[in-house]
């Protein structure tokens, strides 16, 4: 039984609608060019020392793209790992605890990565 309004809004029982599915795809689309840029950049800097990495991240465009890469990357990883956990962990309490840990950990790692990039970008 679902009200007409509920059916039209299509938000489902979790009240989130298709946002998980959609953000998984949106971050995937963003990651395609970002990862190609990143892989090419890493290859170009292969074997380079600390000074070269600092000089690279000191430029605006690489720093901005690197921030976008880790943000989209950790968001995408969190959404994907969430589905894996929901598929295989059937104990509600354990699942809930792992999902909270996952979300907090991915935010921590994402923020740490952005901090490192910004520190390099604005000069240590």
């Amino acid at each position: 039984m679902q009200s007409n309004l509920g059916r039209v809004r299509g938000m489902g029982s979790a009240k989130e609608g298709v946002s998980h599915w959609w953000m998984q795809r949106l971050t995937a689309i963003a990651l395609v060019p970002l990862l190609l840029w990143f892989v090419i950049s890493i290859i170009a800097h292969a074997g380079a020392g600390h000074a070269a990495v600092v000089a690279w991240m000191g430029q605006p465009v690489p720093a901005i793209l690197a921030v976008l890469l880790v943000a989209a990357g950790y968001y995408h990883a969190q959404l994907g790992m969430q589905v894996v956990i929901e598929d295989y962990v059937h104990n509600e309490g354990v699942k809930f605890a792992i999902l909270i840990g996952l979300k907090l950990l991915t935010v921590l790692l994402g923020v740490a990565s952005v901090f490192a990039i910004l520190k390099l970008a604005f000069g240590a």
Binding site: G49, V70, G80, A116, K119
Partner: protein, 132 residues
Amino acid sequence: MQTGGKAARPLSPHLQIYRPQITSILSILHRITGIALSVGTLMLTWWLLAAAAGPDYFATAHGFITSWFGWLLLFGWSVALFYHLANGIRHLAWDAGWGFEIPQVYTTGYAVLAATAILTAIAWIAGLTMGG
């Protein structure tokens, strides 16, 4: 017909009696490489933090990454990345409603495997010839 309690109905799928198919193998590989990349991204964050910490700690991180175990992780990460990237594009095509016919599923599946091998080879050849 059993009344009350759980009927002992057969469970599906019995993975151990199925002949492996390219469709199912590629499907589970997408998930496995996704998990591997999630864990592997820790190394990227560590590398960024090491660079931000300064030349001394960066040298430590660089030493690990260029050890035989570091190279092994990096190679595995690159294979997983290119596979997940190529198969992810295949998934996006499916999301757009394209490629659902069985011959297309097989063709794109083999294309993903070929793309993974080619991109990994190009990346490593380029990286090893350009890098010092």
